[in-house]
């Protein structure tokens, strides 16, 4: 396996075009989980980071300077992530780090970034990454708390007050379950059933049956990602529920509709990003251009749809590039200051405006409430 990882790394490393003419270059570092349990996050992220750097270099780099990318695969292992972060800072002498596909690996990298004073843009979900604010740490994905709030706002509008919760026991599911329970009260939502399932479970009809037998339940919410939500959706349909099913942004991808089956997924609602509905976006939509360009490029290069997670990586690269341009120099502290001053930067996930108190820079408008209908996405207003 070590050997395999090494070959993968070698392949990853050769994906970077080193300029023959030795100009000054901007050294950018990345550590993502391209393999291992979080590969479905890290794989599209690694592909995106490579593609973006190639694109930027092909179009003349940043102010004439090429980007030299050092990309490592931490396999979702926090210890490896720490080692690679140290290597990025000490051996590769990078001026900024992107990565940390999972909250676990992010926590390792941010320690190093904070100690060494290198700006770090994380690709992981947990609110604890940027709350409390850390000087050198930013992140691009929405927090799961925001996803809960977006869903509950929609439920409120539907007049729903009592819901059943069925959550995955993996990191993502458990974290979102806790956040949803915290903010439910603010939206007048009462959780009358609270069930869980293991990330590899093949059948959750017992849990759903318990939810169905709860008094007055008006909707079901499933925080989770990976195969769980597809199985929940199929079992939900199998049991013939008459109430709406809400999923999280963790399954905001076309693959989810394929796995759950268009019939079972009919009517499922979830908060997603503009990236997911690239074809549906109006040309006047502020995110239209960035989403369309990126989706087209990714499809052409990799022959698959970019996922929401891939979009997080796109935004992270572009935020750093934008900060370097505005800073006028590729020095870690200057990049950090420029990042914090980012205003109204349009990415695939949303429009970012950072401040000294806010290193996420997104609000609920970044989420769009979507519904699956006829095997495709429909935006709800």
């Amino acid at each position: 396996m070590k050997l395999l990882t090494r070959t993968t790394l070698a392949v990853l490393a050769t994906g970077v075009a080193f300029p023959l003419a030795a100009q000054a270059e901007i050294r950018l570092g990345a550590s993502v989980s391209a393999t291992g349990p979080a590969a479905f996050l890290g794989d599209p992220e690694a592909k995106t980071i490579q593609m973006m750097v190639e694109q930027i270099n092909a179009s003349g780099g940043i102010d004439g300077e090429e980007i030299a990318l050092s990309l490592y695969d931490d396999g979702g292992d926090p210890n490896k992530a720490r080692t690679f972060a140290t290597r990025l800072v000490e051996d590769d002498e990078v001026v900024a780090i992107i990565g940390g596909s999972t909250t676990g690996t992010t926590m390792s990298i941010l320690d190093v970034a904070e100690d060494e004073g290198i700006p770090f843009v994380s690709l992981a979900g947990a609110i604890s990454i940027i709350d409390p604010v850390r000087e050198y740490v930013f992140k691009t994905p929405h927090t799961d708390r925001m996803a809960c709030e977006k869903i509950f706002t929609d439920m409120q509008a539907q007049g729903i007050t009592k819901i059943g919760l069925i959550s995955g026991t993996d990191g993502f599911g458990a974290s979102m379950q806790a956040q949803c329970k915290e903010v439910a009260g603010d939206h007048g939502i009462e959780i009358v059933a609270d069930e869980t399932y293991g990330p590899q479970d093949a059948d959750v009809t017992p849990q759903l049956t318990r939810i169905r037998n709860s008094e007055g339940v008006q909707a079901v919410l499933n925080p989770g990602f990976g195969q769980g939500p597809a199985i929940v959706t199929r079992n939900f349909d199998q049991l013939g529920f008459e109430i709406p099913l809400y999923q999280s942004h963790g399954v905001a991808s076309n693959a989810f509709i394929e796995l759950a089956g268009a019939e079972s997924a009919e009517g499922v609602r979830l908060p997603g990003t503009a990236l997911l509905i690239a074809e549906l976006l109006d040309e006047s939509d502020p995110q239209y251009q960035v989403v369309t360009d990126y989706t087209a490029a990714y499809k052409e290069k990799y022959n698959q749809e970019p996922s929401t997670f891939a979009g997080y990586a796109h935004d992270a690269v572009m935020l750093v590039v934008d900060a370097i341009k505005r800073a006028g120099e590729a020095e870690p502290d200057a990049i950090r200051d420029a990042l914090e001053e980012t205003q109204n930067f349009v990415g695939t996930t949303g429009t970012y405006s950072f401040s000294p108190e806010d290193h996420l820079g997104l609000d609920l408008t970044a989420f769009r409430m979507l519904e699956i209908s006829d095997g495709d996405w429909k935006q709800l207003n």
Binding site: M1, Q200, I231, L239, G240
Partner: protein
């Protein structure tokens, strides 16, 4: 009442998958006393190869057959390349070799195929069968039928055929088996091929329900191993009963107690049974002279 029936259906669905994995363990175990921890990877390969062959345009039945044949080949290769050269090593070393093989197969799968989740259409559609207010998917019936058929086949193989008896003889005493004319090398090759084929069949039957990706094997192998231990390692009847009991335990715990404790309760019951019956429910008593 309809809730209880739903829990039972759920347990049968999951339990039949566990039983199929557990049945895969029996042949290799019976031939060599080795618990093959790459068994879950055979299940995964059965699912993954079917998915990609089907995507490449083969009809589903043909894709499934291809997956089973290729996986059987992988099983034979595992025996030839890793187990045979280590002949004479203690059983524990062989078991560790299978763990290494499992990691290698996972790595190769994600390089050759991909890291995404996949499924293919259920054989008889997705319209649930309704029984007294509870529902079960037609695909679950396929899995249950598959588990029962494999069980019957294995039971006949070990009790009624000369080859099956040769397998048991090889495990019992390799030298003695060779002396009476059994080609033990061939028996080992056959065992790995058959075990892998059964694993792949499990993958083919279960994927429409469980979905498949390169890393589903480990959890399946653990559950299948637990089921086999509960029923009695190496005994087809034990594998079938153990799998179903484990599935039912999980479903009933999730339904009546709490989904949080589902896995814990299942394993506590297994531990309890093994305290009383260390050989499992149908396991043979083995005595060792000291």
């Amino acid at each position: 009442m309809d809730s209880l029936l739903q829990f039972i259906f759920s347990g049968m669905t999951v339990g039949a998958v566990y039983a199929l994995v557990a049945l895969g363990f029996t042949i290799i175990y019976n031939a060599s006393d080795v618990v093959n921890f790459a068994q879950g990877e055979f299940v995964m390969l059965g699912g993954m190869i079917t998915v990609f062959a089907h995507q490449a345009g083969l009809p589903l039945p043909l894709a499934a057959v291809l997956a089973i044949v290729i996986t059987a080949g992988v099983g034979v290769a595992l025996n030839k390349l890793a187990i045979e050269p280590a002949r004479g090593a203690p059983v524990v070393s062989l078991i560790i070799i299978t763990i290494g093989a499992s990691i290698l197969i996972q790595g190769a799968t994600q390089l050759i195929f991909d890291k995404q989740l996949h499924r293919f259409p259920a054989f008889s559609g997705d319209d649930p069968v309704r029984v007294m207010g509870a529902t079960i998917l037609p695909q679950s019936l396929w899995v249950i039928a598959g588990a029962v058929l494999v069980f019957v086949g294995l039971w006949l193989f070990f009790t009624r055929t000369l080859t099956g008896k040769a397998v048991l003889a090889t495990a019992n005493n390799r030298v003695a088996a060779q002396l009476v004319g059994i080609n033990t090398g061939w028996v080992m090759t056959l065992s790995f091929g058959l075990s892998a084929a059964i694993g792949a069949l499990a993958g083919v039957l279960a994927t429409p329900i469980t979905l498949v990706s390169y890393d589903v094997g480990v959890a399946l192998a653990l559950k299948g191993f637990a089921a086999a231990m509960l029923g009695g390692m190496g005994n087809p009847k034990g594998a079938l009963v153990g799998g179903l009991v484990l599935g039912l335990l999980e479903a009933l715990t999730a339904g009546y107690l709490s989904s949080q404790y589902k896995d814990a309760v299942a394993f506590l019951v297994i531990l309890g049974v093994l305290f009383v019956m260390p050989q499992g429910i149908f396991g043979k008593k083995s005595t060792e002279r000291v």
